[in-house]
Symmetry: C2
Subunit: 382 residues, 2 copies
């Protein structure tokens, strides 16, 4: 059911294109997965996601567990039916949010009753970012939730450690991730979901090697690399990505979690990474910031043959720009000539249509980027 077929390889890098089959359709890789945290990619209708070429979306187990709960979604007929999206879906394990959101809420909302997550061998006690209520999640619980949700690809519950962890704590954390992987696999009952284990180890390459070897003891349909982009430098991200990718079975899809700047995608595809997800295109769009192709002065995107720049549409310099965000862009927003000036006005007025138009653009930019990468790989020049 979860076959991965490699269709072509670059002659000058480890980049490749492939097709991963899931119960809800095939995914051509390299692929970018828009993030729909609570079961909706911000402002987007499912049909609009299909229209812009999104092949698979990601939803967050942590958020859906807290609200509306996996039990409700199961009653509704599963996540695909609930959110009215008939393409492939991936759910994360909840681990990342359990650690990061609890901490962040502590700082941002100063909810006095909130405490940091407490990790034990059994699992994690955490406090909801919504109301501070106490919850417990374990590998078994994570799989139970993800099975109730019913995504096509589910993730093992891991201990996602921050970048600045000391060596001993990092070792303990990786050991825990491995034991939790075994328990995740043991808890799994559905065979129409592909479980991806997650390679951890921070920036410690020896630990990464140990982890890459360990997770491959289980013959799963794909592998993920986690614990990157958690505070370390770009160079470190790239070196970890390259190092791990080389260690992971080349006949299976490799998923680097949480990476989304265009230049990161083009660089990391060269390491043989096949799957990406990131909130950046949607988050930036929500603040009126868009990605635009440019012929010079931007960030180079290597093999695809163009550069891009990040433009903040809310700046007053954009006030009288009556052209599209990018005249040559084929997204719905640009194709239909919604002007920068109008979009800026809508965002200023907090009209939801404004961030809808920028979200469409940024998602199409990112999806088009991986399409262009695939095309360049086919031609062997990437």
């Amino acid at each position: 059911m979860f076959e991965y077929k490699i269709l072509a390889k670059s002659k000058i890098s480890k980049a490749r294109i492939g097709v991963f089959s899931t119960p809800h359709g095939c995914i051509e890789t390299p692929v970018f997965m828009p993030v729909g945290t609570v079961g909706a990619v911000k402002t987007m209708l499912p049909a609009e996601l299909h229209d812009l070429g999104a092949q698979i979306i990601l939803a967050n187990t942590y958020h859906l567990h807290l609200r509306p709960s996996e039990l409700l979604i199961k009653k509704a007929g599963g996540l695909h039916r609930f959110i009215n999206y008939n393409g492939p879906i991936l759910t994360d394990s909840g681990g990342f949010q359990v650690f990061s959101l609890g901490e962040r809420s502590l700082k941002e909302k100063s909810l006095k009753h909130l405490k940091p997550a407490e990790i034990t061998e059994d699992g994690v006690v955490f406090y909801s970012h919504l109301d501070g209520s106490k919850h417990f999640i374990s590998p078994e619980k994570s799989i139970e939730i993800q099975e109730a949700l019913g995504a096509d690809i589910i993730m093992a519950f891991d201990d996602c450690s921050p970048a600045d962890l000391d060596k001993q704590s990092l070792e303990e954390s990786v050991g825990r991730t491995h034991r939790w992987l075994e328990r995740s696999i043991g808890a799994k009952t559905r065979n129409d979901q592909a479980l991806f284990p997650i390679c951890q180890g921070g920036t410690d390459l020896k630990l990464r090697e140990k982890s890459a070897n360990y997770i491959q003891k289980f013959d799963t349909p794909g592998y993920a690399i986690g614990g990157v982009a958690v505070g370390e430098s770009k160079e470190k991200i790239y070196s970890v990505s390259k190092f791990c990718s080389d260690l992971l079975d080349k006949n299976k899809p490799r998923y680097l979690m949480g990476i989304g700047y265009p230049e990161d995608i083009t660089n990391i595809v060269r390491h043989g990474i096949d799957m990406f997800d990131c909130v950046l295109p949607t988050r930036l769009a929500r603040h009126g910031v868009v990605w635009v192709k440019t012929s010079r002065g931007g960030v180079d995107l290597g093999g695809v043959g163009y550069e891009y720049k990040q433009v903040d549409l809310t700046k007053s310099a954009q006030k009288e720009d009556f052209g599209a965000i990018d005249e040559k862009c084929d997204c719905y927003t640009c194709r239909n000539k919604f002007s920068v000036s109008y979009i800026r006005h809508l965002i200023q007025e907090k009209e939801p249509l404004g961030i809808h138009l920028t979200t469409i653009h940024n998602l199409r930019f990112t999806v088009k980027l991986v399409e262009d990468i695939r095309e360049a790989i086919k031609q062997g020049v990437f």
Copy 2:
């Protein structure tokens, strides 16, 4: 350019169907105009408005004047081009908001530097609801703004008095409205815009008669009835509507401003009113409240043969309703089976997609209602 042709009349009431031609297309009446206050009908793409059968939309002169300003919109090529909507548009005169928003802001935002609007014969000094800044609007200024915006139908600048005004003040106010109408007409330079004068007079039928007679001295393409739904009872609204409609030229479209409950529309169409606008369908949608047809226990809609009820989707009773808002509704939301449970979840999570789905439904409900009314009139049974 602004012809009104009556196509059919009911045999049992004064309801009629007609076609009003404008530079951006024809409008079949009775018509409901969705409100796009700042140049966007909340959450809606222009194509979605066309899809659900909206024939004309309304935009607010007051808001667009303050932000982004009529000068910017004129530079952009006019309002149609700026908001990317190629159908007919109506702009109000700004008068209503100048009075109501200033007052409301005083109460709601308690901006200390805000003062109520000051009316003189010349015009109105008002304080922006955004930042309290001082502005002046006169009949000439209103027309200047509306000409810069370039809507198909523009409104005369009137003194829109509250329901509880004493007789003497009301008389003065109506007199001012009439003098301002003359100045509005005098200021008008474009001949591709239809100016509608506004009949005022509160609930005083003698004043209404005087006003109806006065505004018809100017041979304008249509007439509006203002100053209703400003605090008086439904019975008063209906009696004023009926009274004024009878006095206005039956060969011109008659527009009752600011009315939008379904039962109000069906009742008032019977008085021979042809045009309606209201923020209700979009405002209720924004709070998760939808209109649904029902076979019993609802509000009767007379000649169209059904009842409706107002349902608050955010209530916990809707939590496990996995059906559409209305299985028989032909709106995009219901047709594509987005469930009440999912929409409720989205609204709870403040995901803009939630209110987008309810807005589509409520607007289609209202547009379909006037379509059903037109059909019933054609069959002579309304």
